[in-house]
């Protein structure tokens, strides 16, 4: 386990179902200001900026044009990745390792809940224009098919998957940044409106507006500016095929490959024992147990029956923040949201949802709810 790069500052605006009063640039500015205050560094100290966005969600081509002014990174090294926030984070990590930068700002935001009026149609454009898009429909049907295969392979019951929703929405009630907390029962979930069978309405993470900024620094800088650095000890990212026809249905191969890479780097042999807190991007309830199995935290088919162990106070708290079900799904920024939560937990700043003795945490981010590509980050106190 090497301690070469640390998170020194985090800033976020609370996730909300609607933010008509603020432009996306104002969201970025707000979280950047919080992150700089948290880190105790000024924009002048920053060497590089890493940001991520998708054109079609921004409604603007090349939306990274608008980031440098808001985060004070004008005339600095800048790169944009069109992937999840975790992958932007991993790129920032590599920039520091390569020796080109000492302090890097990672920015990620979502304004889809307010700005995108035809989300399903936009998402449909992610599918291949010749083979898949002409089938039409709301692309979430792909998740319905994936869940069917997953619960079939795992021998899981519908109730077990619904328990994930109960847990995450309940956790979100303890999180002041979460916009979708609720006290539910398993029956509430199972009896909610059918959406993409076997996915019900409450199994889907609602879209949210959100923004986060995370500041990373090399070891020397981190030790100089903060007493509570959170070290990046492992990173990994991977993709699956872009043809749904070739997917490994029911299984998250990309999480498997990415977490293997990250855990190897972090020197973690048995994640079940060595990891204290997990945050995954679950746009749908079934994805949480699916990813946990892919990460090797549970054996194949076991995760759905272990949900009670994943509550705050359980053996391994998963999505103590409320996850995407509780905080809302912020496309592109969901991964950075997970990282922000892990950092808060490791710094013992998570308030009422604080997990005891959290030493090592893992964040998993996915490029999109139907895109099988993403990153895994392992952080340690």
């Amino acid at each position: 386990m090497t301690k070469a790069v640390a998170v020194i500052g985090i800033g976020q605006v609370e996730s909300k179902p609607l933010t008509p009063d603020r432009d996306f640039r104002e969201l970025i500015y707000t979280s950047a200001k919080k992150a700089y205050e948290d880190a105790g560094v000024a924009p002048d100290d920053v060497d590089a900026l890493l940001t991520n966005e998708y054109d079609f969600y921004a409604g603007i081509s090349i939306a990274d044009e608008y980031t440098p002014d808001q985060v004070g990174c004008r005339l600095k090294f800048d790169n944009l990745v069109c992937n999840d926030g975790t992958i932007a984070f991993i790129n920032a990590y590599m920039l520091i390792l390569s020796g080109i930068a000492d302090v890097v700002v990672v920015e990620s935001h979502s304004k889809v809940a307010t700005d995108v009026k035809n989300y399903p149609e936009v998402l449909l454009f992610a599918l291949d224009p010749i083979y898949n898009r002409p089938l039409g429909g709301h692309p979430y049907y792909l998740a319905g098919m994936d869940m069917t295969r997953y619960i079939c392979d795992a021998g899981a019951t519908r109730e077990q998957i619904a328990e994930v929703v109960v847990k995450n929405k309940g956790n979100a009630l303890l999180n002041p940044s979460a916009g979708f907390g609720a006290r539910l029962t398993v029956d509430d979930v199972i009896c909610s409106r059918p959406a993409f069978w076997p996915i019900n309405e409450l199994d889907i993470a609602p879209l949210a507006d959100y923004s986060a900024v995370v500041i990373l620094a090399s070891e020397d800088v981190a030790r100089a500016v903060t007493d509570t650095p959170v070290w990046v000890i492992g990173v990994g990212h991977a993709t699956d095929s872009s043809y749904p026809e070739s997917w490994s249905w029911g299984e998250a191969i990309w999480v498997k490959n990415a977490s293997k890479e990250a855990f190897t780097m972090a020197g973690i042999r048995d994640p079940k024992k060595q990891v204290n807190i997990v945050e995954v991007t679950e746009a749908f309830s079934y994805q949480e147990p699916q990813y946990l199995e892919a990460m090797g935290i549970c054996k194949k088919g076991e995760a759905p029956s272990m949900v009670e162990e994943f509550y705050i106070g359980g053996r391994l708290p998963v999505n103590a923040s409320g996850g995407c079900l509780g905080m809302g799904y912020a496309p592109q920024a969901a991964g950075l949201q997970r990282i922000v939560e892990v950092v808060q937990q490791l710094r013992q700043q998570a308030g009422r949802r604080q997990v005891d003795n959290a030493e090592v945490g893992v964040a998993v981010g996915s490029d999109s709810e139907i895109v099988k590509c993403g990153g895994v980050v392992v952080l340690a106190r």
Partner: protein, 398 residues
Amino acid sequence: MAQTYTPKLPRVLPRKKRVAVIGAGMTDFRSINPHTTRELVYEATRRAFDSCGLTPADVDAVVGASAPDAFDGIHMKGWNPVDAMGACGKPYIREFVGGGTGVGCVVTGWYYVASGLYDMVQVSAWEKMSPPVPHAQKLFQTIFEPILEWPLGPNLVWIFALEMNRYMHAHNLKKETIALSAVKNKRNALDHPHSQLGMKITVEDVLNSPVLAWPVQRLDISPSTDGAVTLILASEDVAKKFTDTPVWIDGVGMCIDSQYWMNRDLAFPYYVYLAAQQAYKMAGISNPLKDLDILEPYDPFDYKELHHLDGLLGKQGLAPRLLEEGELERDGKHPSCPSGGLQGVGNPIAAAGAMKVAELYWQLSNQAGKRQVDNAKVGVAQAWGDLMQVATVVVMRS
């Protein structure tokens, strides 16, 4: 020209790991290529692997690169050709900084290797600009500020006309001088086997071509293009195992300026200057004009080649003089765009910059055929993008 701001130069820390380009491949650049995005990417990738005798199994991570999603109308389009790149199951990202993407993806590939996490990285850049009808130019309206600028109906020709006017005024240039760049690059492209617009033209042809937005005329502009380029990058110890002629990426630089382009002096691209200085510092280059044997500045418009050269060479108004004296010709003292550049070879946005890096690779490893510049040892490639805002630079050495 007084700059209104003097920010500090980017800091450069010692380089940890040397990175080489060991293979390159590209498709033909054409205004309409009937192949799909996936097929274009596959073709370029196949050629790159064949050029160095490797297979996708040897690659540890893949960097994809493509400009606005609107061109081929695919949301998150970086994900579409992952199968064609052989990236399934591997670390994959799509890098994207507007027009700067082509060189930016090589910078990204560089830090993937230089970080020590990956030994061999494949960089694939592609663009398919033919689907929008009648022309891709209209889509550039969507890069502008949605409240203040978009309602004016701007496009790239529009803002380039502003910048070109400013550049010509600042250095008292005639269009005759600037047109020499179009003549030179289109002629150079005749020797490029994949070029789209290689041709013999004269300064008069440029001056007599239709005016689009004064002073921009038809032959001042590069075309819209379908095309793809793939490069294979490797760390020092791995590169030496697979090739005898690695070309080293010794310096990289990226810089972004403010989005408020209306508030800047457009006569000098200060962001290009800063990105270049970062790359030179890393590569140990103190006098770019003397130390660089080949220049590949980004030339989507003829004046842009000169504008960017000013930034790369760090001297305002120097490039037009070099051009007039014939020093930027392929057999001149400072060959610029020996490939034919974007004006000659074509301008598939993201792939255009990568084509420039591929050209440096071919030139510096003596594989450039008819385009070969004698005794070329060090070269620089640069791309530019966003709202006249981003510069990406690599310095390569044989």
